[in-house]
Symmetry: C2
Subunit: 724 residues, 2 copies
């Protein structure tokens, strides 16, 4: 598996895979039937016919209603079977119970795609869910694609086509899809005045057939779409979504507003990893790995798509701010820093040219404040100088309009100058300005406007985040030596045969060893004497740990004795460890005691994996002890991972500084940690039946000296769970 950005849009060849899947019939059908069309202006069945007429759609428009007659001048057919050719798409606004029958009629008529607008299906209970399944099965039987039910359908400014009953958005190059219909209407209301334009606008509804990944693939292959935006409440197939998104974002940015970012906290877990992971962590990790830019609010989604749809990507982190007033300039600077960017140090030649051009009272370091007198010529000259500066990767231009200066002329000068350079320029007039001539001027030159300096800076931050993703080098495939899959399979088979799901420590250790993870050797001892003999073979001091399939948290059960320095101590510890464990867990089956060499030194880390219902295994990394237990200072990625991804995982933890060599301590062996993470990633990928596992601790020595697993826990998935 590779994170390498591909050079081509998937499916941008001659044969579109999505065409074969029939999605094109939703966007460029030869004709549209509106089943449930109405003459009543307050009904959806009227709104859809009106929108189809008003949007400029060039194909046939065929209202269907048993009453016949005319709607808005179109002949109304009593049944879909009566509709003449050409017709490929049907929009259904009919009662829930009637939908399966109407769908079947559509199938008979040769309809290729159907949008079911009506609600009252799965979202309203088991009865509705059953009818929804029936509708999907009818569609499948006739080879029709189905959008919805419970959606507002498709608005397409490129065909053009509008099967909805809401207002049309501005034309543009943002492709948007949503799992909420209400969000669609709101976004259109919001974006019209701001001149944010869309190519395709899709409301997916209940996703009985067409789902978010289908539309993602369609928009990826769509030449009219430069940026993909989505409102998601969840994904139906995490693995497929991730794979497609990763491929797509190599050439087109995907910005997602994913809601429901809280956990219910009721899952039963038996490892640290399980306790700290969760579906929100999995979404976050999957989005990060797929290069998806995650917006935190509707306004961010729109702002960022607007910038990505109109501006080139910045090549670096250094930005300039150009303003005619100090306050807004400071707001932009603060927000640039919050967005992970910084103010560029201007080149000496730029500063000199600015000083020659502008009066001395102007602040000509970055941010460049031309003061209130700045006119069109001043803005043009300063912006040209900033864009030509090698240290500047992008510019936030602020212009607070006032009576002494002609704002449209200033904005035209900004627009013309911005066009001349291949660097991003974002603007703010400090105010809403929706629907004003000022925004029209900026729009003409493709310069995006944001109500506040902060939001302009934030949009530049999103451009840069996507730019960094695009700049990432291709990851080489990992060739892990010494992975013995057969031995691992045999160990797991044995555990299952003995009717268990929890591996004993020795089994867990063998499993890791089979995948090349260094583990501390140990011997099983059934008696105190055997324990002493084992200790003498491996050399004092040693550690004793209770071995029982029923005891996973050995320390808590009193089942661990550390630093035993001689035979007498081992003998006494054997008795204590067994009796304390049985005291805590009277019913536990004790198989004996593990004897291991006592290791000291090294930085304790934790590596874990847990299965996420959507995305597969979630890998975890963190420093051990309080870092994981008190601070929850861990990072996650979805397996399988690449070497650059595991390096990122390590750097993401706050305690990473401790591994780099802190206060004279030597740097830890980061390569050894990375290797272990890659091997655990491979292990859980090869054995999806691993439900949860922890290596805790993985003791990491200095650079080049390796890491070693001191303890491990592995829990398999029950066969029943696997069937669910």
């Amino acid at each position: 598996m590779s994170t390498a950005p591909a050079n081509k849009v998937p499916g941008s060849g001659d044969t579109l895979p999505t065409r074969q899947k029939g999605l094109d019939y939703f966007f460029s059908p030869s004709g549209v039937a509106i089943i449930g069309a109405s003459r009543d202006q307050h009904k959806l069945g009227f709104g859809v016919v009106r929108n189809l007429r008003d949007c400029g759609y060039q194909g046939g428009i065929y209202p269907v209603n048993p009453r016949g007659g005319e709607i808005l001048g179109y002949t109304c057919y009593p049944s879909i079977l009566d509709v003449p050719d050409p017709v490929e798409l049907a929009v259904l606004i009919v009662p829930v119970a009637a939908t399966p029958g109407v769908m079947a009629a559509c199938g008979e008529r040769g309809i290729r795609a159907a949008i079911v607008v009506s609600g009252g299906f799965r979202e309203s209970g088991p009865e509705g869910a059953q009818i929804e399944a029936e509708v999907a099965s009818v569609a499948h039987r006739y080879g029709m694609r189905l959008m919805g039910p419970n959606c507002i359908g498709v608005i397409d400014t490129t065909t053009p086509l509008d099967t909805s009953f809401v207002a049309m958005p501005q034309p543009g190059n943002i492709g948007f899809f949503s799992q909420s219909g209400a969000i669609c209407g709101g976004l259109i209301n919001w974006t019209r005045g701001r001149r944010i334009g869309f190519s395709r606008f899709v409301s997916l509804g209940n996703q009985a057939d067409v789902n978010e990944t289908d539309i993602l693939e369609f928009l990826a292959a769509d030449d009219h779409t430069k940026v993909i935006a989505a409102y998601l409440e969840g994904v139906s197939d995490g693995a497929r979504f991730s794979n497609v998104a990763r491929r797509v974002s190599a050439s087109k940015p995907i910005v997602v507003l994913k809601v429901g970012g809280t956990e219910d906290g009721t899952r039963a877990v038996s490892s640290h990893t399980g306790a700290l992971a969760g579906s929100e962590k999995a979404y976050q990790a999957a989005f990060t790995q797929a290069g998806i830019i995650r917006a935190g609010a509707v306004e961010e989604l729109l702002d960022w798509c607007y910038a990505l749809s109109s501006q080139p990507l910045p090549a670096g982190d250094g930005m300039a701010v150009l303003t005619n007033a100090g306050g807004p300039g400071v707001l932009a600077v603060d927000a640039l820093q919050r967005a992970g960017l910084h103010l560029a140090s201007l080149e000496v030649s730029t500063l000199a040219a600015l000083r020659t051009r502008f009066p001395p009272e102007c602040a000509l370091h970055n941010p460049v404040d031309l003061l209130a007198a700045a006119d069109a010529g001043g803005y043009a000259d300063a912006l040209a100088l900033l864009l030509a500066d090698r240290n500047v990767s992008g510019v936030v231009v602020l212009h607070v309009p006032h009576v002494l200066v002609d704002a449209p002329r200033v904005l035209e000068a900004i627009g013309r100058t911005a066009q001349a350079q291949h660097k991003p320029v974002v603007a703010s007039l400090f105010g809403d300005y929706a629907g004003t001539p000022e925004l029209d001027v900026l729009h003409r030159f493709g310069v995006p406007h944001f109500p506040s300096p902060e939001r302009a800076s934030g949009a530049l931050g999103a451009l840069r985040r996507y730019g960094r993703w695009r700049q990432k080098p291709a990851a080489a495939a990992e060739d892990l030596q010494t992975v013995d899959r057969d031995s691992a399979a045999a160990i797991i088979r044995e555990v299952r045969l003995s009717g268990r799901l929890k591996l004993m420590e020795a089994e867990a250790r063998s499993l890791l060893a089979a995948y090349g993870v260094p583990v501390l050797a140990g011997e099983m001892a059934g008696t105190a004497e055997e324990a002493v003999a084992a200790a003498e073979r491996m050399g004092f001091p040693v550690v004793l740990k209770i071995a029982s399939p029923d005891i996973l948290h050995k320390t808590d059960a009193g089942g661990v004795a550390l630093n035993l320095r001689d035979a007498r101590a081992v003998k006494r510890a054997f008795r204590e460890v067994t009796s304390r464990s049985l005291g805590t867990f009277p019913e536990a089956v004790i198989c004996g005691v593990q004897v291991q060499a006592m290791l000291s030194g090294g930085q304790e880390t934790i590596i874990g994996a847990t299965r996420d219902a959507q995305f597969g295994h979630l890998l975890m990394f963190g420093l051990g002890g309080i870092f994981v237990e008190v601070l929850g200072d861990v990072s996650f990625r979805v397996a399988p991972v690449s070497r650059p991804e595991v390096m990122e995982m390590m750097r993401e933890t706050r305690a990473f500084r401790l591994l780099q060599g802190f206060r004279g301590q030597p740097a830890a062996d980061l390569d050894a940690i990375a290797d272990c993470l890659l091997r655990v990633s491979r292990l859980v990928t090869d054995f999806p039946e691993i439900e949860e596992m922890d290596i805790n601790p993985l003791a990491v020595r200095g650079a080049g000296e390796g890491a070693i697993a001191l303890d491990a826990r592995v829990i398999l998935r029950s066969s029943e769970a696997a069937l669910r």
Copy 2:
């Protein structure tokens, strides 16, 4: 010092202190002279006359221009001296160099307050700064108050009065002041369409005379102002600002957008506290302690003030969301949680009533989704039920308008219902809707509208944060026993007499002991034999530490030897410690070696204080070791602090869980930590000349067992620095 909210607005008695200071002349003058008035529509001198005429001001309007004639029908006087009574306020739009002379003429004429609009003073260099000082001194000489220079003056919707040249904001009850003039114009543009209204709107400019705290006091006493909003780049007197703000926010909310939240990182520091503190930390701490609500962006400033100006405060954290569409509802829920609130569990009776009233397909748990069919009656009934629920402290009402429902009727129903209960209601139509009839309806009922569900939830969060502040109980004054100020003064005097700024450890320990902080006893030893004798007196094991005024970081210099168990070890350590220290610092003066009992156990914490130029001493608390050094996990407050404030400080650190008793460990003695923090607070308040100090570590034992300072560093301020 007490954080107790006062019951009265300061100065709300009969005699306004601000009246005596002459600020009222800026807002309700008997007449206004515009010096530099112009007939040219493109000049500020025209705009000011026009705005004064158009705003509805009832007093005399007197343009002044040597050319005489008429402007907009007003007689234009050649000089301020010619202007007839009544006139109290002058607005100056004259060249920089002419300003002192014009100001003097104003003084002669008996003008009481002057607004200097022109720029080109302090902000443009030393020459401008000198003229600015001259202008201020003229004002002082004549007892005139001066606003600016470099400002847009005052807009007052209550008098009404408008000395600016920008558009007038909507009338309302938010009092706003700004250190940036450009921000003012932008805000007005932004708020008009949203119906956010202002009582007084003040641009302070360079603050040569009237500053942010003066205006804060004025607005606090102003009956027309319910909420105070500010854009700040800095404050001129931190201590005065904090004291006034703390008093004001006990009865009126203050929302501040403070910019410039980054540190230059170039300060020279010699303690952990110094390294982690900084002016941004000081502002944050001062704002927290004064109850100031800090907005992170312009939109938050406006949103939050809008909510505070129109809604009652929520009594608890449990909120309800009422919607006609799922997606926007989820966005609101996510944002509520981000704002520190949660969804209320509805009472059984509420759920039952909702179930009776609404069809089964509606989602009637919280969030309550009435689905698209919801009409005015449905909204009214559901909102009434939610507001009557004892578990609900506030409601976010979302209505996504669509063709099937009459939005204005729904909004009227929401407005009427909201008015009937004393709980906050915030609304979003999911879209901008600025300037639409929909917003007029909501405005009529005083329900604030926010473009997005997220921003509506965020505003509810701000209401609750201020509500929590208002609910805080009054803090009792701390009566610290055993504070011996005279001994402390003697120690500091001795250090200064010996020509030093850094206290030696024994001196620092004595200083702390004088203020009742428990310190580990130690004895000085000049020879190895003295060290052994001391160790035998206090009992083994002991610690040796080098004692030198030149060595602050003893461990780094090899100047510490731990856990010495017998006389031989002490003897050897004495030699090693002295020779290693001299090896590291060959020039250091070695006074001997400190012998202390070796303490083990206890949780290591750090307490520190450092002087901030604006706010005085900043106290710091954190857990020791990696928590402070790697994670920077510390909290700050401005001294002096109350007991509830130091408890908050402790709880703010991420590692607080470790102090509460983690994994079977006993809880730490939080009272002992609090006591030490209070004593350090008293110490630095009594001795402002303490530049920086650390107690590192303060070893904290179990509850009731106390805490003890093991090491301390104190550095005094140089006399030259104190003079700066």
